[in-house]
Assembly symmetry: C2
Amino acid sequence: MSTRHDDRPIVLGIVGDSGTGKTTLATGIASILGRHRVNLLRTDDYLRYDRRERRLRRLTALDPECHHLDILEQHLRLLREGRPVLKPVYDHATGALVRPEYLAPRPYLLVEGLLGYHSRAMRRCYDLKIFLEPEEALRQRWKIRRDTAQRGYSREQVLRRIERRRADREAHIHPQRVFADILVRFRPPEDDPEESGARLDVRHLLRPTLAHADLSPILDGNPRSGIRLELARDIDGKPVDVLEISGDIPEARARRVEDLLWSLIPEASYLRGRVGSYGSGGREISHPLALTQLLIAYHLIKAAQGVVAI
Amino acid sequence: MSTRHDDRPIVLGIVGDSGTGKTTLATGIASILGRHRVNLLRTDDYLRYDRRERRLRRLTALDPECHHLDILEQHLRLLREGRPVLKPVYDHATGALVRPEYLAPRPYLLVEGLLGYHSRAMRRCYDLKIFLEPEEALRQRWKIRRDTAQRGYSREQVLRRIERRRADREAHIHPQRVFADILVRFRPPEDDPEESGARLDVRHLLRPTLAHADLSPILDGNPRSGIRLELARDIDGKPVDVLEISGDIPEARARRVEDLLWSLIPEASYLRGRVGSYGSGGREISHPLALTQLLIAYHLIKAAQGVVAI
């Protein structure tokens, strides 16, 4: 891939279990790139069965059998070619499959879901593949909060669902982690295992499948600097770079990382001007989350500029 | 096209204004070919706006603007390649766009709708293109009966709708007739202008774009035989064959036509055995309708057998 067609979208995959923060990450990246230039595709929309049918069939949404994965694959290919699709829509609030939605091509396509890397043909559609694997206790807290607030479940129902999904998670979700270019793990700091917001640390496993951003100018090896890069081995024994960003990274240091990343993509500086600083919007700033979003956006902008991905 | 792939469906188009008998024809052909071997695709399902939205926008369903024609085209191409699609669904009873439907490939695809020949790319998808143009007074009787019985309109509403649609019909539906291989016109017999059922006559305009069935063995020129073939000019002055089948065709003669057609496709005789005689099913037999269905099925079976279409 030495050149890219101007008219085909850059495609990002965000895959991970339910409650791993896929939507939060996708939404943040979309605001960096400009919401009107981004299509968000949630693979949950490709559910074959509505909530009632899944219950009757005793299937969880983690089961590939539950999804029109061939249609998802078809739509990924069409969208990647710059063609429109009529996307199905699953309503998480009611558990129903409803009127589909016309998706016209836009410069960026962010795909988030449970089974986005299921087939080889799907995996070939992405310019960048992220896998989210927050610490499990943290994921459960996130999932309980979201499913009780937005999807009409009780806390007990969510806990039962988590339990019921354990086998499918191991069988269908976890195996996809091997295909990711970047593995992202949020986790509470050691002194506060109950933290689930701005003070979370993040660890990126950077696989050598990608030309990662050169952060050396701001990496000084100081253990209190809040950001560090180390060589390590993944759980499969293979070498990876590990980027750690602490929830306690000093504001000034976080800004320096931000400045550095934007300086690496000067052609995109107009985006920075429009978006403003990351994390703005009234909520408490999470530097690890904001920098994660920016690092991923960096790769997408690079890809859009026609730079070779590897 | 000298050979055909075994694994791609044979595609029939049935286009015509609302109330021209598209569904009746498609259903009859599907029972000849075997319901389980046929996908029926109604292009109304590709409506972009539901009934309420069309009313707000003052658009009729005859207007191309009202449809996802690019998606229809995409789905026709995919289905023709033997791929599945997730087809949108428009509920005529309620006027709502609802949960889409998975369509797996089958040997035959019958496409019926208002705008099926709208673009060149669509037209290239068909093995056989039919255009229905019943006598206008007859069409209005059919449409009133159907829309009041099945779609919840009053007689007055239907009449207003017919009036409102006149301009769109001329602008968007009628121009498609030029692309058809066979033009089918049902009309009442001269002695009974109110007839709308079994005693209707039918006239087929057979364009030279197709190798038509050789009916000469049963054409004897007798004006009372109920079936005749004549050379004529279409309304554009171009030469066509005209096949006329009278509603009063004697039973024995209709059977002879049927026998002849099946003898021309001996490989498909198992279909005849299964289906039985045309028109069976308790209702009054319309020979012109049944023979029209059989003549079209004949072409599709020929196409499926890999015979060159022209």
